[in-house]
């Protein structure tokens, strides 16, 4: 008996459905491409204007006594030092507090305490940075910084740094907690089985096992600290300009604060003036800095995931 030949399009399927599938597929690809386009625009806009900036100024203007953009002084070192100082202060607060909170949540907390602490951290994480800036200016500075250091001025980098620190605590806590929880239970059990206490197990077994995730948390925290604008703009001073300074008890300026203050100046800084273009130059530096940190942090995060 011969095989009954199938109708030519036996397995062709419903053409209307296939057409719809193709259409949906195309729409979705276009959506995904938008994100790439955005990246492209960011890079191009920054590069374009930053280049225009560098062409307009004298390169020696980049190294001077301070950052006074409206006077043509664009000492980036001033801003870099400011960013670093504030970030260091922030990490001195957020690093230990965030990590310890994460350890508590992951290793010590009962489900009931967890259900209290986690919301606290989530609430803190949701607070807009303007509020933290206000808090730094009107509370942290007078009540804490100025009480401890009589020489501190109304605007200073220490208060701003502490504000940024409080802002970052939830971020470091959450990434560290993920890393700690990813450590398999068997490792803890092995340690307990050998007669070790909780402290020892936590500090000598769990934390070292989670170290790449914790490092990632710190790196991402640093990146966030460098990119923070509002707290700095409100509490660190430096609007209009700043001398190069290492003194955290006085005002200072960061990359982000400089951009913000340029844009809010009473004079309508715009167009092709060097001061306007310097916005993008700073933006480019900021972008490169934070991107590098994030890429490194990401590598550490993936390293943690791969181990388990």
């Amino acid at each position: 008996m011969s095989v009954t030949p199938a109708a030519p399009s036996l397995l062709g399927g419903d053409p209307a459905r296939r057409r719809k599938e193709r259409l949906v597929s195309r729409i979705l690809v276009s959506a995904a491409m938008v994100s790439i386009v955005i990246s492209l625009f960011i890079v191009l806009a920054l590069l374009f204007e930053a280049f225009a900036f560098l062409q307009q100024i004298d390169l020696s203007d980049l190294f001077g006594m301070g950052w006074f953009p409206r006077r043509g002084q664009f000492d980036i070192l001033t801003l870099f030092i400011g960013s670093v100082i504030i970030t260091i202060i922030a990490m001195l607060v957020a690093g230990p507090i965030g990590l310890l909170s994460a350890i508590y949540l992951s290793e010590y907390a009962s489900p009931r305490t967890r259900s209290v602490i986690k919301p606290v951290l989530e609430i803190l994480a949701s607070i807009p940075s303007v509020v933290l800036g206000f808090f730094a200016l009107t509370f942290i500075n007078p009540q804490i910084v100025q009480r401890l250091f009589s020489g501190a001025t109304v605007f200073n980098m220490l208060a701003a740094g502490l504000g940024v620190g409080v802002l970052i605590i939830p971020l470091i806590a959450s990434i560290s907690e993920d890393a700690l929880r990813a450590v398999p239970r068997s490792l803890r059990e092995a340690s307990y089985g050998l007669g070790a206490r909780k402290v020892t197990t936590t500090l000598r077994v769990v934390v070292p096992a989670a170290v790449s995730g914790i490092v990632a948390a710190f790196i991402i925290g640093i990146s966030r600290g460098i990119g923070e604008t509002m707290v700095v703009a409100i509490a660190a001073g430096g609007t209009g300009g700043s001398l190069r300074t290492f003194n955290p008890l006085g005002p200072g300026q960061t990359f982000t604060g400089a951009i913000a203050s340029l844009a809010t100046g009473s004079d309508q800084v715009q167009g092709g003036q060097a001061a306007y273009l310097s916005l993008f130059f700073l933006g480019l530096l900021l972008f490169i800095l934070t991107l590098s940190l994030n890429v490194i942090g990401d590598i550490f995060v993936r390293h943690t995931r791969q181990r388990y």
């Binding site: 008996m1 095989v3 199938a6 397995l11 062709g12 419903d14």
Partner: protein, 262 residues
């Protein structure tokens, strides 16, 4: 639903020199076999020998794995399942599948069964189709009063029968079963085996199983696969079940069915 199809001697699916790959790794090598219509054919063999891969290639489920592709031909009513212009979605309507772990949709029992016909363009009242499918899956009496209940509220064995009803609803000619009883208790397993014997009058069944007693009990023909030195699965022997089990031609087959390895 249609009446019983006429019996035929033609194999409903003929595999010709089929090899299956995941990217550059060959998982299954050079399989040729005619699967008899209205029969139950069992695919047996040790773990990792590619039985599931082979089964899933028949309804092109492997297409969903990035990098997976097939060589050779699979002739279904004379047309190559992997030929150009073939819509994999249509293949899956005609060749249904029941999975190892019962996986009903998080929907009502009614909607579970009606889903297949609906997405394939059947419009209008589904009640008849749903009832017929549930009856053929020996589930109608259990659920006829609770069609609106969630499919996931049933017991394991009932869920699997629901999945069978769901697969039947699209009127496939072939039902592929990937170790359908391995997650079930012995009583449910027996129920499903009895069900299979009823179903084969109307459908062709190809079943992957680890359970040799099940293969011996329930199937008409058996295909025995094992893993070669190149880590690809290949067909050692195949044929009528009773002969393969009592009078195997290959020593490997004899070793496997008597439990010496696998």
């Amino acid at each position: 639903m249609a009446d019983l199809p006429p019996t035929t001697d033609e194999p409903i699916i003929r595999l010709e020199d089929v090899s299956l790959f995941y990217s550059s790794f060959r998982a299954v090598r050079n399989i040729s076999y005619p699967f008899r219509t209205n029969a139950i054919t069992a695919l047996i063999g040790p773990s990792g020998c590619g039985k599931s891969t082979l089964l899933r290639s028949i309804n092109r489920m492997n297409d969903l794995v990035p990098g997976a592709y097939a060589e050779g031909r699979m002739l279904y009513h004379g047309e190559d399942l992997y030929g150009p212009g073939v819509d994999a979605v249509e293949v899956r309507r005609r060749i249904g599948m029941v999975f190892q772990k019962p996986n009903p949709f998080p929907k009502s029992i009614f909607d579970n069964v009606a889903f297949g016909p609906r997405v394939n363009g059947v419009k209008g009242d589904m009640a008849d189709i749903v009832e017929a499918s549930l009856r053929r899956a020996s589930l109608w009496d259990d659920v006829k009063d609770k069609l609106k209940q969630s499919g996931m509220a049933l017991s394991g064995g009932q869920q699997q029968r629901l999945c069978i009803a769901r697969a039947i609803a699209t009127e496939p000619e072939i039902i592929l079963m990937d170790e359908p009883c391995s997650a079930l208790d012995p009583r449910s397993t027996l129920l499903i085996e009895e069900l299979m014997l009823e179903l084969k009058q109307r459908y062709t069944i190809i079943i992957v199983t680890h359970n040799m007693q099940q293969a011996a009990r329930a199937s008409d023909e058996t295909v025995f696969l094992t893993m070669g030195d190149d880590r690809a699965g290949y067909m050692v022997e195949a044929g009528v079940t009773s002969e393969l089990f009592t009078n195997p031609k290959s020593q490997l087959t004899e070793d496997y069915v008597s439990g010496r390895f696998g």
